[in-house]
C-alpha cells in the first residue's frame, strides 16, 4: 500500500475473535522492524 510517496510492502489487519480489537502490522520499505498498531473498538 502507498501513503504519500511511502510504500509499505505489507500491511496486514486482523481482528480478535470477539471483534473488539484490531491489530495492524506494517512493514515499511527500508525499515527493519514492523510497526504494530492495536486498536480497541470504541463503537460499532
Amino acid at each position: 500500500m502507498k501513503i504519500g510517496d511511502k510504500t509499505f510492502t505489507t500491511m496486514d489487519w486482523s481482528i480478535s475473535a470477539d471483534g473488539k480489537q484490531v491489530t495492524s502490522t506494517a512493514h515499511d520499505t527500508g525499515v527493519p522492524e514492523p510497526y504494530v498498531g492495536v486498536y480497541d473498538r470504541v463503537a460499532k
Binding site: I3, G4, D5, W13, A26, G30, V31, E33, Y35, G37
Partner: protein
C-alpha cells in the same frame, strides 16, 4: 522527525478508524489506538550534513534536504517543512500543507552528550483536533564522534544540534516505549510514531501521515 509522521501515516495516531474489508463488516466501527499494546519502536532516521546550513533527512527510502534558514521546503510527502536553528542543540520544524496551512511544529532538543534527543510535536489534525506528542530518540552506534558523556556540545559548529558532528550521518532510533504526552483535551490520542513522523513530523496530515517522520536528526 517524529512519531508524528508515521503515526499519522499509519493512522496509529488515532482516531476513529473505519475499516470495511470486502465482504466483511467486522471491521466497521470506530477504533481507538491502544498505545500500550502497540509497537512503533525501532524507527530509524538519519541526518547528514548537506552543505552550508543544509541537512538531509532520511527515513526508509525517503529523503529530503532542508536549510536552516526557515524557508518552506517541499518534502516527499507533499507538504513543506521549514527548519530553524533556535540554539546549538535545538531545531524547530514547521510543517505546512501544500496550500500553506500550518499543520504542525516539532522541536528537537539534543542531550548534553549528544547521544539522545527529544522530539516534541504539536499541531492540528484535519479533524480540527489538537495534538501534542513527545518522542525520545537514541543515537545508534553509527554515531562515532559524539562528545564524551557529560561534555558540553562543541561550540565550533554553528549548526543546530552542533554537538552532533556532521559526519558520519547520524542514525537515530526511537526508544521503547515511545513516550506520549497529551497537552490538549481530545477524545483520541496519538503516538508517534513518529511518530511518527515519524510521525510524523509531518507528512501530509490529510493522508494521516505526519511527521512521524521526522525521522531524525
Amino acid at each position: 522527525m517524529t512519531s508524528l509522521h508515521l503515526a499519522l501515516a499509519l493512522g496509529t495516531s488515532v482516531g476513529a478508524l473505519l475499516l470495511t474489508p470486502q465482504g466483511d463488516d467486522s471491521y466497521t466501527g470506530t477504533w481507538k489506538l491502544n498505545v500500550a499494546k502497540s509497537k512503533f519502536t525501532g524507527q530509524r532516521d538519519k541526518v547528514a550534513a548537506a552543505g552550508a546550513n543544509a541537512w538531509t533527512f532520511s527515513y526508509g527510502t525517503s529523503s529530503w534536504t532542508v536549510k536552516t534558514d526557515g524557508s518552506d521546503t517541499p518534502t516527499p510527502f507533499g507538504n513543506t517543512v521549514a527548519l530553524q536553528a533556535e540554539s546549538p542543540t535545538t531545531w524547530r520544524f514547521s510543517w505546512k500543507a501544500p496550500n500553506g496551512q500550518a499543520l504542525a511544529t516539532e522541536t528537537w532538543t539534543l542531550s548534553a552528550d549528544g547521544k539522545s534527543m527529544s522530539r516534541v510535536s504539536s499541531g492540528t489534525r484535519e479533524s480540527g483536533e489538537r495534538f501534542s506528542d513527545t518522542t525520545q530518540m537514541n543515537a545508534s552506534r553509527e554515531l562515532k564522534d559524539s562528545p564524551a558523556p557529560g561534555r558540553p556540545p562543541s561550540s565550533r559548529s554553528q549548526h543546530p544540534l552542533s554537538s552532533l558532528p556532521a559526519r558520519p550521518p547520524r542514525v537515530w532510533i526511537s526508544r521503547c516505549p515511545l513516550r506520549t504526552s497529551r497537552s490538549h483535551a481530545r477524545t483520541t490520542e496519538s503516538q508517534m510514531p513518529p511518530t511518527a513522523l515519524a510521525s510524523p513530523p509531518v507528512r501530509r496530515l490529510h493522508a494521516r501521515s505526519v511527521a512521524s517522520q521526522f525521522n531524525s536528526l
